[in-house]
Amino acid sequence: MTKNLLTSAVFAGVVAGPIAALLQFYFVIPTLLEGELFETGARIHFGADGSPQSDRGSPGMGGDFGRHLMTVGFNIVTYVGFGFLLLAAMALTEMKGFTRITARSGIIWGLAGFIAIQMAPAIGLPPVLPGTIGAEVEARQAWWLGTIVASSIGLWMIAFARGPIALAGVVLLAAPQFIGAPQLDTYWGVAPPELSAQFVSYSLAAAAVGWTCLGFFAAWFWTRES
């Protein structure tokens, strides 16, 4: 059984990781590379003449295939890691008799994982386009990790607990957002706000698809008749 649980997580990550990477290559990476033009000063928004206009246009994917190969590799590592955590939660929940996991319910688990691990922390700390400076990294990591833990437990309680305990799940889900993420008291971004906003929505959308695939395939591999 150990083998089944662990191999299912690996297989699901190996499927979902490249799907997420593919979407990143089409949507996210070209936006990120355009952001780097502003980060390095190759392109300047609000130039010396005070003009708020700057050229639009991504440099595309570029030819750095080693770099892109690393992106695929780390997506697989990340999604296998997510897969381990997701399947651990699924298995524990099923073991305790709260639910029965199916490939279809895996889709919901994947979406819940997206909400708890991508969406909730991104509300306070949106995905960062290169060229944007954030608050001190340790403080952000602490809020990010705390938000993920609280949101995961909160969502689980809403899904599987009854009565006031389910309500406590809502509190857990909301609390990190009301506490608030660490922010600087000045703006430092050098890239156009449109580009940054586009980067955020592309990143979250790619992660939503990746997580949904991960949930489905994790449950499918795990529950399939052996």
Partner: protein
Amino acid sequence: MTGQRRRYMTADVKTIARTQTRADVALLPIAFAALAGLMLLFASGYAQASVLHDAAHDQRHAMAFPCH
């Protein structure tokens, strides 16, 4: 949840325990899976070593890992 649905769910779970071995998953492999997941995510999202950081750069940005 209504009483009827709850009874149905309980019966359902018993059926799984009897017929499908996956309900036999023990706590230890679950804990092992969780630990393995945390270790992989630490490497891909959290570790500050500059070799790891540069290689994972684009992916970390895309996943909104707060790494710098």
